[in-house]
Symmetry: C2
Subunit: 244 residues, 2 copies
């Protein structure tokens, strides 16, 4: 089990992200937090508020991945179509969830409990609620699909409460080696090292600092024993190039 | 032509984005800049450095969209696989581009022109170069696929130079109305307005400021005449709810 690797697919929903009005922050947060518990995010797909696209995407991917996480589109307005789309994708009845309704009725005063707000309790039948410690309206889990809100602060608040629904395994570990030499000089020998250690992921991320180009070389694996020899090989390679 | 709408698909390539190490900024930049020239970004897909996935995605989408933009994976290291994947997706020979090679040879001193750097001139046969005003190594266009680097500053620098390859049409216009009432109170009447004006996109984006919830309501259309009546209807609706 220790090195098993669960796979996740993210579905980020919202016209405002594709129009550039809002920058998606949920991919980064979920990628990092899921990686910490050994789950690899294999794809993140940003789609508009389009029911058919959401339904098709969930149907095409739900059996390919251990988990699907959606963010966005579960508020009280007309453009919040995710919950119903998920129900349709899974061919599950869409109905008012009694537990979610109670949460909302306890949170809002009777004068403020509009039909729009109550619609946030409409979910696929059999959904398990995901607690929202910030604004109460819950997310939910149905089969292997986790339906989360779009606002990053609420996604963050909800994550701790949903962790226990996920099969945790050993986290991805990473070691970053900073190369003072640019990618163009280390590219060849680095490719040789990657070819020698194919089981270990080596990423190369150039940066520019004070006008000089350097590279963050990131070694990533679930097993620290896989990281060590690669780190040593890379450090030696840089040293040979720097002090020939 | 004025209200025609070209459609774009973004393919954001990089393990570092899915692991949460790096936050994608290219979707927002391209979404905004393309919107300004009337091109709608319909989807943005973030994929790992995986040749097969890149090939499959380009093949499945290139005929569905007017433009595909890829970002990432065109540097000089082993994880830079985008250019070759694009060539394979389109069944085009992958070869050294003479013009790109010359650019690189003029930019680097003879001592610094490694094989890794020259590999940045390997492209699908017949590619048109996209000028890189920052670090020289060019992007390219082949058929309807624009292949851009991953570093946001370079994407930004490259964009002005590639605009003339795009069929510009009237830009998307938007008007934001700030509602001091939260989504739960305006959700019902706002849905009625959307139902009445189906050709005009209305987005609802909640915010929290000084502990009070409000909503940015964004009306979006290519035609200002479509925006006006919707804006008036929304302003009147908010006023009725605020001062009943």
């Amino acid at each position: 089990m220790e090195n098993s690797e669960a796979k996740a697919f993210l579905l980020i929903i919202g016209n405002e992200i594709l129009s550039g009005r809002t920058k998606d922050a949920n991919t980064q947060f979920l990628g990092r937090k899921l990686g910490e518990i050994g789950i690899r995010v294999c794809e993140s797909r940003i789609l508009p508020d389009d029911e058919k696209k959401i339904i098709d995407t969930i149907r095409q991917n739900k059996d390919q991945f251990d988990y699907i996480f959606t963010t966005g589109g579960i508020g009280p307005t007309h453009d919040d179509i995710t919950a119903k789309a998920v129900a349709r994708a899974l061919n599950i009845e869409f109905e008012r969830n009694a537990e979610a309704e109670e949460l909302l009725r306890n949170f809002y005063s009777p004068d403020d409990i509009t039909e729009a707000r109550l619609s946030m309790a409409d979910m696929p039948k059999g959904a398990t609620l995901m607690e929202n410690p910030i604004s109460k309206a819950p997310g939910f889990k149905i089969e292997n699909v986790f339906v989360l809100p779009g606002i990053p602060k609420i996604v963050e608040g909800m994550f701790e409460g949903l962790r226990h629904h996920l099969a945790e395994s050993s986290p991805f570990l990473s070691k970053t080696i900073v190369s003072p030499l640019p990618e163009g000089l280390i590219g060849g020998p680095l490719a040789d090292i990657q070819a020698q250690y194919q089981q270990t992921e080596i990423g190369s991320y150039p940066f520019s600092k004070d006008g000089k180009m350097g590279v963050n070389i990131v070694i990533r694996s679930k097993n620290v024993e896989n990281i060590k020899p690669v780190a040593i090989a890379i450090q030696n390679m840089i040293q040979r190039l720097e002090f020939p």
